[in-house]
């Protein structure tokens, strides 16, 4: 039986600011510029917005955004806790609200000075001063998200034989995509596998070019009912499936959340991974693109490394092009927002690395913490 969510809601507008290392403007301004662009893209007036959602880690409240947009009656708002990895989860929440009739026009936004302001790779930003659960990790030198992720990467390399060089092909493939995208931070700057292997170690096994960018910028999505979306400016990106997964069991540093989400997600979508035309995957660190490909079932466990090494994720000739805007490694690190936008562009046929005849566009925003399947409206 189809999910009550299937193709009932669409992403009707997307917008972003320029991406830079120093925006010179407030995070609220970045969010608002992106929202304005997304509403213009859809052809919807700001005052029509009745729902606003963002990341818990965003510094601009829904009330502040509403006061700028001139929202008269904010019917639906909220944020999701965890970290940067909640973008698709927000889309799932907003979609549920629209299907339930609790809101009509929901905007999801993220505005961040991720380079000139609070930097997520820094222990003084993400550290918790030994409090709570961090009492069992920080006294031993683990202070940032990359630390726990590097533990998983090392263990998976041991379990499945994946190599750092194979991770490097994720970075190289994404850079190729960024060379086609004038918005990308690394537009015009090529990257070889040797560049990756010779780059300095940050947290071994992560080399510099395994790590995402730090970016100042804003992005926004506009969600409305599929019915409404039909009459708007852009071809609608229908939300065929949207779901999230958290950690319930004690971690063994092997499975990602995608291992829990995958069976439920593909059942909701009524699609097999092999039917997907293009994927955006949360590449905070390049190895996790490999792990996501395996844990979502695009390839068997242990086959992710050979798949990326063989060109499987390249827009040019790959069977599943991944992170076609350049992703977090080469376009911008907007905590999944730029990948949600790129996922929409692919079903509209507007990507700078467009996949031919794209019907099904997959977006993961946290290696299983949330995922979407977008479908081109027929």
């Amino acid at each position: 039986m189809p999910s009550p969510l299937t193709n009932r809601v669409a992403i009707a507008g997307v917008g972003e600011t320029d991406y830079s290392r120093e925006s010179g403007r407030s995070e609220m301004m970045l969010a608002l510029q992106a929202i304005k662009a997304a509403l213009d893209d859809a052809g919807i007036a700001p005052a029509e917005v009745d729902g606003l959602m963002t990341w818990r880690v965003d510094n601009t409240s829904e009330a502040e955004i509403a006061a700028n947009l001139g929202v008269k009656d904010l019917a639906w708002f909220g944020d999701i806790n965890q970290a940067g990895n909640v973008g698709a989860a927000l889309v799932a929440h907003a979609s549920a609200a629209i299907v339930a009739g609790l809101a009509n026009v929901v905007v999801i936004y993220r505005g961040m000075n991720g380079r000139s302001g609070a930097r997520y790779g820094r222990g003084e930003v993400t550290g918790r001063r030994g409090q709570g659960g961090s009492a069992f990790t920080e006294p031993f030198g683990l202070l940032t998200p990359q630390h726990g992720l590097a533990m998983t990467a090392r263990r998976r390399m041991h379990e499945f034989g994946t190599t750092s060089r194979q991770f490097g092909y994720v970075a190289v493939s994404e850079r190729e995509h960024a060379l086609r995208n004038p918005r990308a931070t690394f537009y015009g700057k090529s990257l070889s596998i040797e560049d990756h292997q010779e780059s300095r170690l940050i947290v071994d096994p992560f080399h510099l070019y395994d790590c995402c960018l730090e970016t100042d910028g804003g992005g926004a999505l506009v969600l409305v009912s599929a019915e409404r979306a039909r009459d708007l400016r852009q071809p609608p990106a229908l939300i065929r499936a949207a779901a999230q997964a958290g950690y319930a069991r004690d971690r063994e540093f092997i499975d990602t959340a995608a291992a829990s989400l995958a069976p439920r997600f593909w059942a909701q979508a009524e699609v097999a991974p092999s039917e997907v035309d293009v994927a955006q995957i949360y590449d905070h660190f390049a190895p996790f693109v490999v792990f996501a490909l395996e844990d979502y079932g695009f390839v068997e466990r242990g086959q992710g490394g050979p798949f990326v090494e063989g060109g499987g994720i390249r827009a040019e000739g790959g069977t599943l092009p991944v992170n076609t805007s350049g992703g977090h490694l080469s376009e911008a690190y907007l905590q999944g927002m730029n990948q949600l936008i790129e996922g929409v562009r692919q079903v509209r046929g507007q990507s700078t690395a467009q996949v031919a005849d794209c019907h099904l566009s997959f977006v993961d925003t946290g290696i299983g913490t949330g995922a979407l399947l977008l479908e081109r409206a027929s």
Partner: protein, 138 residues
């Protein structure tokens, strides 16, 4: 490794839920929370047993033996106060009783660390009444 040679990592802030773990370390014992109803070992400590839902708990003393399960080596000073203290290694040790512990290895060079390497706990006082469970080659 002496406590003086350690980078200035944040000390743990004990809470009501895990105080006995830190108290035992000060006495030179490594304990792990054990459910009083179903004997499940729970680490890090927490109020409720995820196996059976009990709030009743005890503390089982571990042998202190285990093996390296995973490890990372931090090369970039990811906190301003770590400058001059890199690279440093952090390991996950699988205790022979089952739980995974985050720790540092005291006498093993970074390029000699290997998954599966047998290790043994040692207790290192870091001041302010806090003792950490670190591990050396067994």
């Amino acid at each position: 490794m002496t406590s003086e040679a350690r980078p200035p990592f944040p000390p743990p802030v004990p809470t009501e839920d895990n105080q006995p773990f830190w108290d035992a370390l000060r006495e030179g014992r490594l304990v792990v929370q054990e459910c009083a109803e179903c004997a499940h070992l729970v680490h890090p400590p927490r109020p409720m047993c995820p196996e059976c839902g009990s709030f009743e708990k005890g503390w089982r003393e571990m042998s202190g033996r285990g093996e390296v399960y995973s490890y990372v080596v931090t090369h970039q000073a990811i906190h301003p106060s770590f400058s001059g203290h890199t690279p440093y290694a952090t390991a996950l040790v699988r205790l022979e009783e089952g739980p995974l512990l985050t720790t540092n290895l005291t006498d093993i060079a970074h390029d000699e660390i290997a998954i599966g390497m047998p290790v043994q706990v040692e207790f290192v006082a870091i001041g302010d009444g806090i003792t950490l469970p670190l591990f050396r080659r067994a």
